[in-house]
Structures are given as C-alpha cells and as structure tokens.
Symmetry: C2
Subunit: 586 residues, 2 copies
Amino acid sequence: MKYWSQTYIPTLKESPADAEIASHKLLLRAGLVRKLGGGLYTFMPAGLRVMQKISQLCREEMDREGAIELAMPFIHPVDNWVDGPRWSAAREIMYRVDHAGAGKGRSKEPEFVLGPTHEEVITPLVKSEITSYRDLPKNFYQIGTKFRNEIRPRYGLMRAREFVMKDAYSFDATDEAASASYHKMKRAYLAFFTRCGLKTIAVEADTGVMGGSFSHEFMVPAPVGDDDIVYCDESGYSANREKATSGLVPADLADAAPVGATEEFATPGIVTIAALAAAGVPADQQFKTLVYMGDGKPFLVILRGCDDLEEAKLGALGFQLWRPATPEEIEPVMGAKPGSLGAVKGTIKNPEALAGIFADQAIRLIGNGTTGANKDGFHLRHVNVTRDLAITKFGDFRTVRAGEPDPKSGQPLKIARAIEVGHIFKLGTKYSEKFGAVYTDDQKQSHPMVMGCYGIGISRTLQAVIEQSNDADGIVWPWQVAPWQVLVVNLDPQDAAASDLCKKLALAAEAAGADVLVDDRAERPGVKFKDADLIGLPLRLTVGGKGLKEGIFEMKWRTSKDVRKIPIADAETTIAQAVREAASKA
Amino acid sequence: MKYWSQTYIPTLKESPADAEIASHKLLLRAGLVRKLGGGLYTFMPAGLRVMQKISQLCREEMDREGAIELAMPFIHPVDNWVDGPRWSAAREIMYRVDHAGAGKGRSKEPEFVLGPTHEEVITPLVKSEITSYRDLPKNFYQIGTKFRNEIRPRYGLMRAREFVMKDAYSFDATDEAASASYHKMKRAYLAFFTRCGLKTIAVEADTGVMGGSFSHEFMVPAPVGDDDIVYCDESGYSANREKATSGLVPADLADAAPVGATEEFATPGIVTIAALAAAGVPADQQFKTLVYMGDGKPFLVILRGCDDLEEAKLGALGFQLWRPATPEEIEPVMGAKPGSLGAVKGTIKNPEALAGIFADQAIRLIGNGTTGANKDGFHLRHVNVTRDLAITKFGDFRTVRAGEPDPKSGQPLKIARAIEVGHIFKLGTKYSEKFGAVYTDDQKQSHPMVMGCYGIGISRTLQAVIEQSNDADGIVWPWQVAPWQVLVVNLDPQDAAASDLCKKLALAAEAAGADVLVDDRAERPGVKFKDADLIGLPLRLTVGGKGLKEGIFEMKWRTSKDVRKIPIADAETTIAQAVREAASKA
C-alpha cells in the first residue's frame, strides 16, 4: 500500500503544448514522465512502476520459453561494429562516445558507440564461450536501455533517443532448430502483449538492414502509428506495407503482344506522370523509370506510372546501401533529365554503367505503353514490355494499395496505421559467419551457428497501451500493467474514521493480491475524482462524506460509470471478489 | 528452481591473465561476468541475479526511509552541465556523445554527455515541479547505469567505465530538515550493507568537487582498496585519509621564540628534503615550500619537510580547481627553481602575484627551521614561523600517519586500505541556488532548497562482497545476495530416482523460501564439487551414489567442512529448518 503523499504523482490539468497525440498528452498529464530534452524522458514514480511491471511480464514470458537473462554493456567498443556486417548502414543512427581529450589526432571513428541493439556484442561473446553442439540451443535476452540518433524524435516515448528494449538472441545448430526458436519467441511475444492488455497483430515484415530470411512485426493498430499494415480478414493475411504483396498480377498472365512499332513524339514541358496523363496517356499505361544508386553504381527501377516504389523492397536486389540518384548522376548515364527517362533498348546513353534494370511485375499489365525517350522533351509510345525493355529481373517493388486482391483469398486487402511494438528476425548465419561463431557437431565438423534476434520496445509498449486504452477523462489501465490496481480515495483525510476505513479497504485489496494507492491528499473531492480518472487505476474505492456516516463506501470500475454502494461490513468479501475477478480476466 | 542446464554458468578452471585481485578472478572464474572491453563487463546470468538481488535490497531500504524511486535518462543535454556548478571540474571525467553528422562546424562542446551522477538533471526537474514548502521534503532515487571516462579502468567492476549505481537526491526546506534526511540515508546505507553481508565502516570524508558541508563514505576494509581510512578503535573516530586529522599539534602550543637572525648558507646541488637532511638538517626542522595554481593564480603551501601534502585538503581554500605549478610558472614568481624555494619575507621575487601563503599547522612545531632562500643553491637557517613567514592562513593540509594521536582519545591512529562502496553528502544550496530550485514558505518567502545526495556503487558492492567473502576454493556468498541460496547436486543425472529426489529436495528448499539451483549436468562428481565451491552457494545438498541406495542425502554449508548425512524421510523438516536458520541470521 502506498499513500499518495508518500510518492510523487504530478498530475497536470492542461497538456503541455508540444504533446500531439493522446498517449503523449496522458503520459505527461498523469505524471508518468517528464521531458529532459528531445527524445529524452525521466520516468516519474508511477511511470517507472508501469515500466517495471511490463518488464517483469516480459521476463516471465521469456523465461517460460527457456530464454536466459543477462545484461550487456550500453557502451560498445567501436571495433565490434566496424568488424560486423552492418557498420556502414548503422553508423548514421548510432551515437558516438568519446572523451574530452580524444580530439587530437583521432581517427574518424570514435572510441565507443552506444548500442542500438547488441548483435555485435553477443555474437563475439557466444563465439568465445560456446563451441560444441552440446551447448546449443541457447537464447540470451536482456531488458535495458538502447540509444538511437533520432534526428526528429516525436510522440514522447514512441520515437525516442533513449528507450527501454527487451532484446534476445538465439543460437542454434540447424536451420530447423532456429525456426523452432523463432516460433517460441513468436509465442512468447503474443503471450506477453496479451498479458499487457494490448491488442496486437503479428505481420510479415521486411528484414531490412538487420538481414536474415524472415521476420514478423507485432503491431498495435492505431491512427497515430508510423507504419501501415496490410491485412485481409478473410484469409488472415497480414504484412507490413514494406513487405506486403497483393494478387494484382495474375500468375498466369500472358505477355501482351506488341501493338505497333515504337514511335517518338514531342512532349515539351511534360516531365511528370500527371502531366502526361493530362495529355491523354493514362498513368496505368505509362512506364515510370527511376534511377537509384546501389553500393555506388546506378540501376533502374521500372514501375507503372500509377504505382509507387516501396523502397524497402529493393533490399531483395542484394545491395548493401541504396538511394535515389541525383540529377547530376542521372544525365551522364541516361542522356536525359528526369521527366524524360525510359528503358527502351538503344535509347540509354551509357547502358554499361548500369548495375541492372529491375522491373515491378505489374508493368506486365501494360499492353501498349508510353515512356520517356531519354531525350529531353520526347517520349516513346507503343512500347511493349517483352519486345522493347531489357529487364534484368522482375520482382515486387511497388506499394500495395487498399482494395487490391489478397494473394490467398482474392478478397480486397485493407490497410491500417499501426505502432510497431515488437520485431522478430530469423537471422540465419549473417552474423555468426562474420564473427566466426561456429560450433563443432558430433562428427567434429564445424558449422556457423544459426541465429535469430527478437526485440520488444518496452517503453513504447507502455505508451501503446495508453494510446489503445484511454477516454476523454484519462488513462484506462489494463489490470496487469496499472501502476497500482486499486485506488482508495479518502474524501476526509482529516477524519480518523475515514483514514481507518481507507486502510482497512486497502489491506483487504492487498490481501486479495492487488497493488493499492491511497489518495490521502488534502484536496477537494472534485480534484481527487478528476485525478482518479486521469491516472486511470482499474478499481476505485471511495470513503468519506455522507456515505461514511451511513456505513457504506463506494466502488467503481474505471471502465464503467456505475457506482456501487457497499456496506462496510461487506468490505473484505466484496473487495476480494472484485480483485480476484479482475485478475482472472487479465 | 532452476536447472544448471537451463541457465548458463560458464565456470573456468584458470583465472584469465589480466585479473589481478581475488574478487576479479572469482567474478570471471565463477562465470558471473565477461569482459567486453576495458572497464566494460557483461553480466552473465548468475552475476545478473546477484545484481538484481542487491538492487532489490537497496530499493527496500531506500523505500523504508521514504525515498521515492524514479529513473532519469542516461544521456544528458550538455547544457544541463554547462549551466551547473561543476562543469569545469567534471567535463574531463565525462563521456561526450555525438552523432556521425555532428563533425562539421560544431562548437567544442558535444550535444550530449553520459551522466556520471544526476544532480544536473534532478535539480532543474525539481525546480520545475516543486514550488511550495507543502511538497517538501522529497528524496528521489534511482538504480541505474552510470558512465565515467576512466583512463585506467582496473580490478573488474571496482573501477569500471560503465557501472550500476543507486543515486538519491534529497530536497528540504531547512538545514535542520536536510540533516534529518541525511541521517535517514546514513541509516538506510548501514542497513543495506548489513543485509548484503558486508562489513562496512562509515567514515568522515572530503566533499571534493561535489561540494557541500559534510560527507560520509562507507568503506569495506580490504588490502586491495583504493582508499586509506584512518581510525581509532578507542574513540570510534574514522575518516578517509583525505579528510583525516590527528592531534599531532597540541591546541595550546606556544609559538616558538626565534633563536637568532636568519642566515643564508650555500647548499650547492642540494634540491631535495632528503639531500638537505643528509647534510645535517633533520627533515622535521625543514620548511617544505610547494607552489600550486588555484584557478589560474599561484599560491604557496608550507609544510614540515617530513610531511606530505594531502591535496584534497586544499579544497578548504575555496579554489574551484588547483594543481601543482610547473617550473616555468614557479621561477618568475619565486625567483628560484624548485629545490631552493622558501617563504621568508623579502625573499620572494614577486609576492604580489601570489593568491596567498597557506601553512600546515604542524610547521608551528618547528622551533628553528631551515628553508630555501629563493636563490638557486642557497638556503636560510634560523627561520622562525612567527617572525619570518608571512602566513595568510594556517590549516590542516598534511597527510596523517599511523601512530599519531587520535584527536579525541589521544590513542594512536591506525590506517587501513578500504574499498569505497557508498558516499553521502550534505550538499547545502550549491546546486539549488545555481539552478534556481526555490520554494515558497508559509509566509510567501522564497528560499533555495537544501539538498543532499547519496550514492551506492551497486556493481562495486557486488564485487566487494566477493572480495570480503571467499576462500581458496571460491566464493562464499552471504545468504541474501547469493545468486541461488541452495545448490542441489545430482551425482547421477541419468538415474530417475536421483532426479526425483533432487526435485523433492529443491521443492522443500523453495517452500521454505530459498532460491534453488539443481546441478543436472552430465559431469563427473569431482567437477561438480569443484564448481559448487567455486560458485559458492550457501547450502549444498548432494544426491546420488552409495548414499542414495542407503536412503540418505548429504547436506553441507559452504562455510564449513562438515558433511551431514540426512535420511530421505527427514528431508523436508531438515531442509526447512536449515533454510529458516540461514534466513533468520542474514
């Protein structure tokens, strides 16, 4: 039992001006966090309690699946990263750590970095500790602070520079065993989010810079989310937009026959898909030609004019790093400026410079298309995919749109915004090969370990719970993650009888297994009730005033408007029953 | 209950070469930590368990004294420090945090620093949150990672770059209330260290760069400690060497009368106290003249030739920063090189340049002394303190030596090496004034809050426990901080009856309130017993072999050689009694 006067819950009547979304406002208004700087938050006492509870739930689910807790340093020697497989991609998002005397004559790399995740630390550790198949599988996890150089931190804990994560790393002897480890983690994650009272959807996701063979994200549907999820209720299909695919192009689509010879025509001033569409060529009959740089070499991506490139899908091409080419990089290769580009054979000025011409499969839907002539102010019509374009490789590079057919059921796909709270990756041997984390099998043969890595944003989960569970008056905490589960409101803190009864009710709730906060402040009832709704503890017991003289107290759930009057004589049994019911449902 | 095969305890037969002291060797050999880099350690599963247990004991003792837990960021905006009172002193020991793009045109300060302590964060936070005397006192604490730019990290967790600390900050309305907060923390610290099974001594300490009016350190006596403590068994006096004082100079000592006029004499080649002593002038009759720079201005410190300067004691002079002067800084002021310096009136070349001449009071014991003439190769004799030296201020600047009289009892002082595991400071208003953390009293008058700050090295405490509690075979964990309290050794893990009995014993120990580890590894008994002693769990229960056929198991305390044979029928009662006894003594 904790008295309000013995802890510190600085509730606010108004939201600070820079809080944009409901959960961010409520984090501040309910006194859970305070901002130190951009993306840096102090967890105030009640906020820290929620974080500790969420961490403990996570620990229990990880332990249940046989994962082993340890704690790695936050500061990493930079060499661990330089020697790893993703330094060039990761260094921009990492904080660099040096000391005041390090300025003179140092190399361009810092002495240390702050870890955003720990593959580069755990893999060398396991390499030096584990050598035999007898010691596998192993899955090590930790719950701790991570750091990320966020240029534009926002939404409170949602995109912070410093945040709490649970990260886990599995090491297996075989690919099959690694898949089993992956599925244990998927099960642990679903159990964990359920216990947090959070509705999540596990979606197929892109592996991105992390690498590996497959991946799921755990998403909380919310309009303020940073991600789009694509899903189909009928088939159960769900994927991150970066990974999502649709049944737009039938597998048995026959190649379109040419309609006539390609023909150049003047398009002065027309340099956009929209402008050419206005001039009479529908966007879905245009070829869109994009120039990208992949590991320093230009390559082309061809899409329908009506489609958007999903940049993450370019990861399938095998480049380490890719980005749009600049106009200065485009002209020497293509012979024209953006707006008049195309991939028709013989029109590219310097085709040998290209690392490849990659086409989204949806361009096969174009029978008789139009594209830039690689000559400023000119386009070509009657362009046929098979005859006229030298495609290196077809693939899925476009962004899926709502309404397209689900690849399994054919039903229309839906798209919704969501918050990513967890991400699991089957990594394969990318890291173990790079760091030499090998084991010896029972035939004395050496093999790289097969790895997986698994992350949960603990502090982000905290805020996602609030985002998903609030009303106009404040937070509505799920039972298991509430900072306290029962709030006893003392309306007459100066009155000994009221204080005694509050203590009695609190002890009854504690005996039934609940955490209890007693509001003993010398504040008006209106202030106390407003704060009670704002901080959102699941069960409220109110003592004092007329009721106390009549021998009753009030019981109210945060999720309901109903107020029950309970005779004091029934306190223990009624409270015990209420607490047990809430706990059993949680 | 945890099976050895389900966790990961990588014991080592040999100590790694770079571990110098017993506790550092045992941390590594018992598989509690692994080194990532200099001063950076991963806490392996068993080590993390100890850390979590110590943290929880600390939390309980802090809560008991009314302190409130929160969690502040590890990354601090540098402005918090630049605006604070100790930036110039602290910046060298702090890590600087930047990102890869920050190189061009940045100022000489980084964007962020990693917090070594959090006065610069909590004081502005409290300033913006607390404004009235009604909200005081408050004492906020956190348990988390701290960072320090250690040039020479050593002894494992003892002096690390990244370490876990409990830090607390109290805010009071009056000096008297602040003293009460300070004494609560002193009580909490003593209770905490006792529960950790650690023998500590609370000693008076220097406030150093932290500032403030008084301070205690909590010291674990150990030959490998970095600090000296000075103490007297008779009077109970104890102090850090930096702060310790002795009764060497009687308070009623009369000034010595001059013996004759000062007289210059040639001392060619004599530039040390020892050389002049060899030439017939006892060191305790020589004046030692040291030149220091205080905030950029030179000042002199005069000691007896036989005494050493205790540099920390110069803090009493009010300078922000001080350091020994270089020979280039000395000669223009003194007119001579080091070795021929003195403070006799009229001999200093440029006395106006000096910020003062400060003398250790022990020079008053010199009746008729000798000192440098500020003329290379010459000294002066018949120097009288009162007549010949223009002392700005007398003070206690020398290092106390063992055997000098205790200031209270007159009995000889003792000196021992010790490890600092905690430090508490009464800070006063140094930080609250600088950051404007003021409150309004009941008369609507504004006052700065009176602060205290309080630190415990959690990871250092872990290692200090091992340093204090080990033998030739391994660690001897105190009951409350052992990673597990009971080890059940299964000598026949292939045998179902042995495994069943192990489970039964483990459950009996758990039912009595103990944490249990079951060694189910397929290892020889000799390996298991050696590892059992190495990892040092308090109570060992051994199952298997001949004993199992005879219906007995063995029970042995880590602290004793005795092995008791227990009939299986008595298992529950015997184990329950043993666990309860151990817990009640802890």
